[in-house]
Symmetry: C2
Subunit: 245 residues, 2 copies
């Protein structure tokens, strides 16, 4: 933007052409890596091939990403942000349409599924098997939480708007854990609802993963309708009810 020269008055972007170029090259590397990821999968993603396609030599790439795993980490964070953004957009749209809690829940779930079908390899990267010796750095936590936070928000709003049915309390042996989870995630919700919510969150991705990874092959054919029905029942299991209006 504001080229600058002396002033550097503006924001911290465009602070020097060097940094700009670095950002651009970094973005180009990630773009090309994403292309190869979508084309061949994470295992076939090769630093040398990325560099080759960008017309540079492989060693130059290490100026931008210290290792292949670091490049993967960057792609993982972007993928979490991407699916989170899709889900948030779908949620906002449902809110604009004055949809009730169940329809909001289903909208978010369908957004996640749609994103997964559009980016199968990126989905595998974040919700499939983790790469071998790789441990996710703390940086990935906030982007990874976006979908979960969205689901929590739906349930919380339903609770305060009267759209959350009473759930049977959790059995005594789970009560401490449920209360701990509730305190951490949503202190204003009953522990039984939080426990059901966390389970539904995992189960939602079980449905998406099974479809994406081929376990529904020759089992479920009309996957879109099946998914909508299943996540609808999931919403009921959390206690969401479509408020009358």
């Amino acid at each position: 933007m504001s080229s600058s020269s002396s002033g550097s008055s503006g924001s911290r972007i465009a602070q020097g052409a060097r940094a700009r170029a670095r950002m651009e090259v970094t973005a180009a590397i990630k773009d090309e890596a994403r292309r190869q990821l979508a084309a061949e999968g994470a295992a076939k993603l090769s630093l040398r091939a990325v560099a080759r396609e960008l017309g540079m030599v492989s060693s130059a790439l290490y100026r931008y990403f210290p290792s292949r795993d670091d490049l993967l980490t960057a792609l993982i964070i972007d993928a979490y942000d991407s699916v989170g953004e899709s889900a948030e957009a779908a949620h906002a749209e449902a809110v604009d349409a004055e949809a009730g809690p169940v329809r909001r829940w289903v909208a978010v779930a369908e957004a996640v599924r749609g994103w997964a079908l559009r980016h199968p390899h990126e989905y595998a990267l974040i919700y499939g098997s983790p790469v071998p010796g790789y441990v996710a750095p703390q940086t990935t936590v906030p982007p990874a939480s976006r979908v979960g936070l969205l689901l929590i928000g739906i349930v919380r709003e339903a609770h305060h708007g009267g759209g959350l049915a009473e759930l049977p309390p959790v059995p005594a042996e789970l009560a401490p854990e449920a209360e701990r989870m509730a305190a951490d995630l949503a202190p204003d919700l009953p522990p039984a609802a939080v426990a059901a919510l966390v389970a539904a969150w995992a189960q939602l991705f079980g449905l998406v993963g099974f479809e994406l990874f081929g376990q529904f092959h020759r089992v479920v054919e009309d996957r879109e309708r099946f998914f909508r029905h299943a996540v609808g029942r999931l919403a009921c299991g959390v206690g969401l009810v479509e408020a009358e209006r």
Copy 2:
């Protein structure tokens, strides 16, 4: 098949020392590969390292497995069989203990979870992201179905024993698909139960996968109890009720 020649009196094992040696070497390769798989994960599994550890040269290994992917396929089939066997054993034990449908369901689910925790990399191999360009050959289908068939069997027995609650019928838009699935999987069960069962099947592995792949990190602490409760509710969702006796 029929070995022919002279006697061949015995079973089809021990038909020639040559074939025997081949079987043994094949098993040794798979064992060593499984060790490396457990130690480092599928991506780090190297044909050369396996051969090196076995004291042979890498090219010799290709006499037994035409490619690395074929070795992986063999491990995948073994893994499906292994988890299926664990689940079946747990089910048989529950049957011996005269447990009702819900307890049988939970026993199978906990067996799957336990196996997954004991063999995380093998679990990732079969229920995580599929390997890049790899498509599972038809040979993997029967072993991959064992857990699913077990769950179907539990629901079917419950249905015939009066331990299956009536489920609300599926909405009209899903009725054809539910009927088709029922016809394929369990013609004696109501379509709504089959649809719920398939969904619960996927959701069960969603719970296991989220725990195994670290998504429950700092979210769920007492995972064993949480899992037991969640799969219990899953069983209820399918319609299973603990029969009084």
